[in-house]
């Protein structure tokens, strides 16, 4: 498979219900009566294929399994059954500020996150200026991150994430990446990735964003694929279903 291919085949992922209770007594209780509470099914038999250069939008209500799907594609999770194949370098724009620390400077955070993305020392040094330029936080780059606004942190994080020259770009809710001007810049960047033949998988609640960025869409609900196909049709069906639900509730 060429770099940029993303392939899900019959992927099922479940989670334990009791995650969160992590004390010795819970473990002993588990040993005595192994998990009779059942498991939460986040994804059920999901299959799709993205070839290099294609863009797919994930749509569905909260808890539909969009984030689980992105985490599986990133390699953060392993499926219970089925197969996930991703070829090439993956950049995951999931929780952009996850690798950032408040008491370190912008430049230090930039280097740490570049290393986490898989960049080498040389690549980081070469791209340092471009990243700073793109983020637009140049005058604060040697200040600790706590001096930054949340928008500035996101801009820097986005700039680092896209600098890794990925084959596959995974995005969870692009909304909130700085102000309007930076959002436009971010969108433009994603478009340039698409033009360069990169694969994009985007989860969003914004049907507008999905229509502009993705030719195909996948509608998830309760971990199952409800519909898959061209964005306009899938979005129309999804929006209709939510308005029907609303009408019933009214």
């Amino acid at each position: 498979m060429p770099a940029g291919t993303l392939w899900f085949d019959g992927v099922t992922k479940t989670f334990a219900h009791h995650a969160g209770q992590m004390l010795l007594r819970d473990r002993i209780a588990d040993l005595i009566s192994p998990s009779r509470r059942g498991r939460l099914e986040a994804l059920r038999e999901v299959s799709f294929e993205l070839r290099p250069g294609e863009s797919l939008g994930l749509i569905g209500p909260n808890g539909a399994g969009k984030s689980t799907l992105l985490n599986l594609a990133t390699g953060l999770l392993e499926p219970d059954s089925g197969q996930v194949e991703v070829q090439g370098r993956v950049a995951a724009l999931l929780d952009l500020s996850a690798g950032f620390h408040n008491s370190l400077t912008g430049a230090e955070n930039l280097r740490i996150n570049a290393a986490l993305m898989g960049l080498s020392r040389r690549q980081t040094a070469e791209r340092f200026e471009d990243i700073v330029e793109f983020s637009g936080v140049r005058e604060f780059i040697h200040e600790p991150l706590r001096a930054y606004s949340s928008g500035m942190i996101l801009r820097l994080a986005f700039a680092v994430a896209v600098s890794a020259d990925p084959d596959v770009l995974l995005i969870d809710e692009l909304i909130g990446v700085g102000d309007q001007a930076f959002q436009d810049k971010a969108l433009e960047k994603i478009r340039s990735f698409q033009h360069a033949g990169k694969t994009v998988l985007l989860a969003s609640h914004s049907s507008e964003l999905m229509m502009t960025l993705c030719e195909r869409a996948l509608w998830l609900d309760h971990g199952r694929v409800m519909m898959s196909g061209a964005s306009p049709e899938v979005l129309a069906a999804y929006l209709e279903s939510t308005s029907t639900t609303k009408a019933v509730l009214d």
Binding site: L40, N71, A92, A98
Partner: protein, 276 residues
């Protein structure tokens, strides 16, 4: 809408388990350097005396122990007793500090572990190695004191990097195991803390190996921290290479701990995500 669906356990058992594969490719050395410096900087940026704290702790402990055993109990007449104590404190300090930061590493870096597909082993090992910066400072202090007390550098000093390398590998292995277990049993860190406290007395820091009754000597021989203290005294005070049996012990302990630690870690890491 939105209510979680509960499925019976057997669905989880699944038929064809996907093979686990690593998505992360990159520059491990650069990543390690960055993570180690991150931990180190975060710890010291908010302290006005910064790195000096690495020196103050062993110096104060050395002073207190020398006072107690030299003046209060009055039994210790050795002129180099401060160096003797410091040979015990430096391995002990590294062990307790590194094991504890290593144990909590996965939980402390939860945001990272849940969002970046970097190999999880790196997180724990980097946490252990970030204590290496203090270690270097403390070893420098120890060597400074050794010279100040009139002991001369000897060829045996070349053994220092060897025994420290083995010792650090041993702590890495131990921390890999305990950090993985700590994800599932959060009490682990308290066990580590209590153990570290007791260890102060079980390691010959302020007493010498020779006063241990023969029937307990075997117990000490299997304690790598005690072995390390002994090795430091062999090398720096006696100016001799550590005995072969001690080196063998360190090699075996480092290899076994590393093997066990990595096995436990890789068995548990697929389930880290949902338990953090």
């Amino acid at each position: 809408m939105g209510t979680p669906r509960v499925v019976p356990e057997r669905c989880h058992a699944g038929s064809a388990r996907a093979k686990g594969k690593q998505h992360w490719t990159g520059d491990y050395l650069f990543l390690f350097q960055n993570l180690i410096m991150k931990d180190f900087r975060i710890r010291y940026r908010n302290m006005s005396l910064g790195v000096l704290w690495s020196l103050i702790n062993p110096l104060v402990m050395m002073g207190v122990l020398t006072f107690i055993f030299g003046r209060v109990f009055g039994g210790e007449r050795s002129p180099i007793f401060p160096v003797f104590v410091l040979c015990g404190l430096v391995p002990y300090n590294f062990f307790t500090g590194a094991w504890l930061t290593g144990t909590t590493a996965i939980i402390d870096n939860a945001a990272l572990v849940k969002r970046v597909p970097v190999p999880r082993e790196v997180v724990t090992v980097a946490a252990v190695l970030s204590n290496g910066v203090h270690l270097l400072i403390q070893v420098a202090l120890l060597i400074g004191f050794t010279l100040a007390f009139g002991l001369r550098p000897a060829a045996s000093w070349w053994w220092l990097p060897v025994v420290w390398g083995l010792y650090v590998a041993f702590v890495c292995g131990l921390a890999l195991g305990s950090s993985a277990i700590n994800v599932f049993i959060r009490d682990t860190r308290y066990v580590v803390e209590s153990f570290n406290m007791v260890l102060f007395y079980l390691v010959p820091i302020f007493y010498s190996f020779s006063i241990i009754p023969a029937r307990y000597a075997a117990v000490y021989q299997f304690n790598p921290v005690a072995a390390m203290v002994l090795a430091m005294r062999n090398i720096l005070i006696d100016g001799k290479a550590p005995p072969t049996s001690l080196l063998e012990n360190l090699v075996i302990v480092a290899a076994v701990t590393m093997g066990l630690g990595l096995t436990i870690f890789s068995r548990l890491k697929p389930r880290f995500y949902e338990h953090i």
